[in-house]
Symmetry: C3
């Protein structure tokens, strides 16, 4: 494992006023790159062959390094290329997925924005659930056995990629039948989770350790295929309704009823506080708690993303909430760069980079 000391040694060799904000070209890289530039940083995108055109076409990258497979980023010589540029890597969902939390912890010597320990807490379902419960959030019920199914449930498989292969069931019989029909190599491991019905809200928080302040920057709703196409057909396809899938394809903007904001801010704050107890110094920077709002105006949290989420792409030029906080267009990507700039100016990069 790369120890915090090793990272700090790398960081000690950096020229504080010539940092490069770097990220992998995918997920939220466009806003991270633009945000870095808006805050006065040089930036860099690491792209897989065939995706670099997006970053060229939008003109947001100062430099693009192209690799054949994402894993090549882990090569010692490639890491050195980043380090000589005084690069700080900004992790995002694809970054973590492509490189794996374990390899990042064990092999990545390039300084990362945020607390690297969070990757493990986010990606391990048991730890994630412990964290959210520790924060006092209401979670969907989980059933340990199909016999217990007494309401609509979502059945998830760790082997199912990106929401395909999940299925809904309302009874043990339906569960058994759908499991049998399921085309998946490893069906033995599954989670049976209550499917809470309500409106979805994915608030985008930012926790600044420098200011000890939680900010609500924006929120979104995921736009998923095929469920959001299927739903539109309603009862029209009732005889031959295909099983829905939940593959994220985009995001839709939303604001919450203002009287719900105290609860939403409280959720964010309690997650930060719990993280500081569980893995000091806890969460740093952007995160999202995926919630359902019931018709009793209760929030049920079913997931946490402990880094920038894709829904922030809606707000590259700011959101209704960020415009209250800042007099400039403040995306989450730019907010990360702002925190880095503040840290560099205070000579306190070690408080936000691990």
């Amino acid at each position: 494992m790369i120890t915090p000391d090793e990272i700090q040694r790398v960081l000690a060799g950096y020229a504080n006023h010539e940092l490069t904000v770097a990220t992998v070209g995918s997920h939220t890289a466009l806003q991270i790159l633009k945000g870095a530039r808006d805050e006065g940083f040089r930036n860099l995108a690491v792209c897989r062959h065939g995706t670099e055109q997006v970053y060229q076409q939008f003109g947001v990258a100062d430099e693009i390094l192209t690799i054949g497979r994402y894993q090549e980023l882990m090569d010692g010589t490639f890491q050195q290329q980043l380090i000589v540029r005084n690069a700080i890597l900004i992790p995002h969902g694809s970054f973590v997925e492509y490189l794996s939390p374990r390899r990042i912890e064990n092999e990545l010597a390039v300084p990362l924005f945020g607390n690297r320990a969070v990757l493990e807490w986010e990606s391990d379902r048991v730890k994630e659930r412990a964290w959210l419960l520790n924060a006092g959030l209401r979670l969907p019920l989980e059933f340990t056995s199909p016999e217990e199914i007494d309401r609509l449930v979502l059945v998830k498989f760790p082997g199912a990629k990106g929401g395909r292969g999940y299925f809904l069931a309302s009874s043990e019989a339906e569960f058994a039948q759908k499991l049998e029909n399921l085309n998946l190599s490893d069906k033995a491991q599954f989670t049976i989770q209550e499917f809470v019905i309500g409106t979805r809200f994915y608030p985008h928080y930012f926790y600044s350790p420098l200011q000890d302040r939680l900010e609500l920057l924006s929120m979104d709703i995921r736009y998923e295929s095929n469920i959001d196409g299927l739903a539109r057909l309603g009862a029209l396809v009732q005889d031959r309704t295909p099983e829905p899938s939940f593959v994220v394809t985009g995001n839709l903007p939303v604001v919450a009823r203002e009287s719900l904001l105290p609860k939403i801010l409280e959720i964010g704050q309690s997650v930060v506080t719990a993280s500081q107890e569980l893995f000091s110094p806890g969460l740093i920077g952007p995160f999202c708690v995926e919630t359902i709002c019931t018709d009793e105006l209760d929030f049920v949290a079913f997931e946490i993303s402990a880094r920038i989420v894709a829904g922030t792409n809606l707000y590259i030029n700011g959101s209704p909430y960020s415009h209250l906080l800042y007099n400039e267009p403040m995306s989450t990507g730019r907010r990360i760069a702002r925190e880095l700039k503040d840290a560099a100016e205070l000579d306190a990069l070690e408080r936000v980079v691990y």
Copy 2:
């Protein structure tokens, strides 16, 4: 009842260039406070204990007064605190709900932006319907008795809070069965309204009496729990579909087909004209007509909100429509402050404050 003369006497004692824009901390207070500040006013939020943090955290309030229950705002001593600050209160949905239209009319001596008489016309279902009919709008059919049900209807109960307890029915039998199962203390009073199927549009208008001008500032769609979660499941839960509820939890942005704008502006204008005939000087400032657009491109109006609506929270930094009208980011909250500023400069506050 507080007479217009009494309000004008209070107003006469105000220092016109040291006004405070005040509102209750909920609903649309964030944009009202920010908008007031953007227009050069001092602002103030009246918050119930436990909600003030939202207004602190977003940093939009110059002063926060905290009370235990919203009704304390009506106390004579509290009202005096507002009056000594030259406060003009901006009413919004929660404000009206918490304090009740009757108490506001009878007991609130603090000047209010807008025509106070509108509160009664908006909150009394019979008067509201008369107003909309007078404006020539197409309304959903109402059935006086369950036997008449010949299409999908929505059954509403005045005792049902915020959209819970409403139910849908397609026949007298379905009505009878659902009424019997309904868990509500007062089921005797109900309204049976045609459920019009089409796309929902909630245009946000602003009528300026100073310029005798109607503006279309933005529009939204309400995001309701559990209906918007339930809908997503389509036919998937057909065996055990729970009854939908219509609790507003947030708002979604939308624009209308440009060829529909003549109709949408006409709806707004006819509502203003009717209001001037029914309760002179009529509507002042922001309002919304909740509509459904059928597939024949007809608008059916099912409600009017004669004050700022929550959907405007989407447009704290302006909307596609407001950007046509103004070269600055113009939220409805800011537009209110702009009208107050214009009135103060013309020494004509009595034309917009009652």
Copy 3:
């Protein structure tokens, strides 16, 4: 037919620095007019009686010419009025629908932004399909006979206006029954198209011939009546579900998962390249490819609009994507004006006006 030479002769008589950007008052005229003004052009709206108020009320037009029927625009004297003002007409969906592609090609001597030959390729279903196939896009399957129906299909009639009269069917029997019940004078001609289930994305592209550059400016989802109201009811109306209609009433904002952008840009580029082969100089300016994203993250293209689309009305003040490309709020309407300005400065109007 009006030949390119005739248009170039008209254009040669224009004062390059006193051009007027003109359009028909509907569809996307608000942003076209505002965009023209933002780029320093004088502008003009041609309105049908009864719609001019919209353009007056939003204050975006320098001049409004009012006519009784849209076809009067074709009158020689009216065209002369436009030509003496050095007018360049910006075509949009309603413009093309009101005047008909054929009449525009044959009778309109006023210079048009874009390649006039595109109108025919876009409006003729056979040519449109050939174009998209030539670009290598995946299209929905088409069935030549009802017996072939083996999945959910959408049945379209050329005589059905704006999405009404279309119907869904899952079998030959359902097709036969619905066809019989259909209230349409000409039912003999129809298209049977696979109804692809997934999320809808309508990317708004702009191809600049001056820079030989493709830009992704924004994207939207259509908001259609009654389908989007019906869908909300899900299984609730299953006994008496009315047949859905697909009348566009508005638009909803969306962003795509960033890892889908390479594919989305590729779709736009391949459509441009194919157009250059099929009808040189090919597509110029704004266009949209209407797509469905499946849960395998494949895009199925079911239509092309080879001019500005209504969904761009969401982004009158810019979109998340346009803010990456431009440091100013860049609507598609303004982007058109920018291209005209660039062409005028290069004395190369003939490269973008036909």
